[in-house]
């Protein structure tokens, strides 16, 4: 998996350099009184050395074609993006819109937009799950989910 390893280990190498610099700025301290940064500094060093070794190995081996689990044309990137995007939106809106409405909308979106269920099925399942999770988490387990505009 030559090329993938080059990208990923390169990325981790950059991360390790960033962490090492930041840790150094946090103050490494000395052996008597270890500073705030020395622990992450040590970990960053190990990360750097290891990613360098993976990078070098990957560069030395000629790429033999990709070994992704699924052929690229079969991957539905839009699903991944939709799911992640709606998760972020859910958290963003949760406080103002409230748990019940927000959850209902999220589920309807998932069921209609991502997995293409029939409209009626989607609304039915979404309402059932929303009510069910509200009862279990908010009422029974007292989880204090955000109330929002509807007051629930």
């Amino acid at each position: 998996m030559g090329r993938l390893d080059i990208y990923s280990s390169g990325f981790w190498l950059l991360v390790s350099i960033y962490i090492a610099i930041e840790s150094y700025r946090l103050d490494l301290g000395n052996w008597h009184t270890p500073g705030p940064g020395y622990f992450s500094f040590g970990a960053a060093l190990l990360l750097g050395v290891m990613s360098l070794s993976v990078l070098v190995k990957a560069l030395l081996k000629p790429p033999k074609g990709e070994t992704l689990a699924v052929a690229p044309e079969e991957v539905r990137w839009q699903n991944v993006v939709l799911v992640l995007g709606s998760m972020f939106f859910y958290v963003l809106l949760l406080n103002s819109v409230g748990f019940v409405l927000c959850t209902f909308l999220l589920l309807v979106f998932f069921l209609l937009g991502v997995s293409r269920q029939r409209c009626l099925t989607a609304i039915l399942i979404a309402s059932l799950v929303t009510i069910g999770s509200y009862i279990v988490f908010d009422i029974l387990l007292n989880a204090q989910l955000p109330k929002g505009i509807l007051g629930v």
Binding site: T33, F39, S40, L46, M50, V54, K61, M87, A143
Partner: protein, 500 residues
């Protein structure tokens, strides 16, 4: 022999109908909180606290204990079914448990998890009754230097956890250690990598990371393919472990019970670490280590036995010194104070009825849990029959709520989602999540132990080798590293993986 008389008395107390009722309620709620990620036994107990002011203390204590060990049973359920560990102690169960579920063997996995928990849970209670006091004194010999070397030793088992490249596993381990450093510095309280976010001052929460890396990433990797594809083998082959499963599992369960119990005795070692150790041990001893991670039942049986055994092990310091091992036993002890009981070394002498009643109830509670969990398996596996197009949305919702309920915090939900993305990319680029989790568990303890050792020894590094227990752990760490790097097989595997 006095212990056994007391135990019989305790069983008598526990078999009282009222106490049986509270025991049942306790294990039921425990199972439920174990199944739901985020909401742990601590939350459930504190919720029930005011309600129980009006019942006898022994009944309340029996119920709280039921919640605690019930959660250990429930935690494995979601790990096996949907790859979300209900509790941190069942992270490792995901590796083979979830793989078994995808092969249509969710039933045996859940069944073995329940049986292993039962065997470990009840078996170790005998150890508890017999040899607790001298062991507790031994546990006191663990000071900061011992903890540090134990943590170092624990980190080296990453080489056994790695399915693929060891180098990549070590990378993830280092990143886990970096994540563990997020938050306030333990000595100077200087904020590190918090970027002004208040919630990050306490560090990156383990549960958020676990839910994201395991649960969300698994959903993402699945939805990127067509929904018409079958994710789970829907034909359920069997509901309970087969004879062959038992043959494969019985030794791992026994080994893990002993290992978990003794690790549990050391105060401050959570029930999480023994699961990792047990898994690595079984992989090392196995005739087919390469199959670990693809759905072998030993990978479920060992860790599940280990966490329950460790849970009884943690009762040792509690029993003889009154020092609770974790947050959940601490709150139970706190609750005892409200009842006017005196938690601590004198509890057994002053209120034997309460103490032995609870121990007795644990035997009964374990039987109840087994009877409760076996029929539930039939229901749990039906969840896998829900079409993935619907199931995935439930899992995501579950992850979102679970991460929120830990601290009632939106920041935690963002963190969880970010780790979902990261877990997805890690899967794409062939990195494993378990070394990261192990490092995140061990990291803070390791840093604290190092800090304290350095203060106590005034910066003398030799302290780690001068103290015998500490030196033994360093020796073991060295042995583990040497044996794995020198072993031709593992090295060959590693090179093979590189060449792929």
């Amino acid at each position: 022999m006095e212990s056994f008389q007391n135990l019989v008395m305790g069983l008598g107390t526990a078999l009282h109908p009222v106490n049986l009722f509270y025991c049942f309620i306790g294990v039921l709620i425990g199972t439920l909180t174990g199944v739901l990620p985020g909401i742990g036994p601590v939350g459930a107990i504190s919720l029930l606290l005011p309600v129980t002011f009006h019942v006898p203390p022994v009944s309340a204590f029996i119920m709280f204990a039921g919640i605690m060990y019930g959660a250990q049973y429930g935690g494995s359920t979601t790990s096996i079914l949907v790859n979300i560990p209900g509790e941190a102690s069942s992270v490792i169960t995901c590796m083979d448990g979830y793989a078994m579920a995808r092969k249509g063997r969710a039933g045996p996995a859940l069944g073995m998890a329940a049986f292993a928990s039962f065997i470990a849970g009840t078996g170790t209670l005998f150890g508890l009754v017999l040899i607790a006091p001298p062991l507790a004194e031994f546990g006191l010999r663990f000071g900061p230097p011992e903890y540090f070397s134990l943590m170092v030793c624990g980190l080296t088992i990453v080489v056994y956890l790695a399915r693929g490249s060891i180098a990549k596993a070590l990378m993830m381990m280092s990143f886990g250690l970096i994540l563990a450093a997020v938050g306030l510095d333990p000595i100077s309280s200087h904020p590190r990598f918090t970027y002004g976010v208040l919630a990050l001052r306490d560090g990156v929460g383990l549960a958020q990371v676990v839910i994201g890396l395991f649960g969300v990433s698994e959903v993402l990797i699945t939805v990127e393919r067509s929904f018409s594809r079958v994710v789970f083998e829907t034909k359920i082959k069997e509901l309970l472990p087969t004879l062959q499963d038992w043959k494969d599992s019985i030794l791992p369960v026994l080994r893990a019970s002993i290992l978990g119990f003794f690790m549990g005795i050391i105060p401050g070692i959570s029930v999480v670490i023994p699961t990792f150790v047990s898994y690595s041990l079984e992989k090392k001893l196995s005739k087919y280590p390469e199959k670990f991670g693809t759905g072998v039942i030993e990978g479920v049986a060992g860790p599940e036995a280990a966490n329950n055994a460790a849970a009884s092990g943690t009762l040792v310091p509690l029993l003889s010194l009154g020092i609770p091992a974790g947050a959940s036993s601490a709150i139970v002890l706190g609750a005892l104070m409200i009842y006017g009981l005196n938690p601590g070394p004198l509890l057994i002498k002053e209120s034997p009825q309460v103490f032995w009643g609870v121990i007795g109830s644990m035997y009964i509670g374990n039987v109840m849990l087994l009877l409760l969990n076996l029929p539930l398996i039939g229901i749990w596996v039906k969840i896998l029959k829900i079409p993935y197009g619907i199931l995935f949305s439930l899992i995501i919702l579950f992850c979102l709520i679970g991460s929120y309920t830990i601290n009632n915090s939106l920041t935690d939900m963002y963190i969880m989602t970010i780790f979902g993305v990261m877990g997805y990319l890690m899967k794409k680029f062939d990195y494993e999540a378990t070394p990261l989790i192990l490092a995140l568990v061990l990291g803070p303890m390791m840093e604290n132990a190092l800090h304290r050792s350095m203060i106590i020894s005034r910066g003398g590094f030799l302290v780690f080798f001068q103290r015998p227990i500490s030196a033994i752990f360093f020796g073991m760490a060295l042995l583990i590293l040497l044996s794995s790097f020198l072993s031709k097989k593992k090295l060959g595997e590693d090179i093979l993986n590189m060449e792929e």
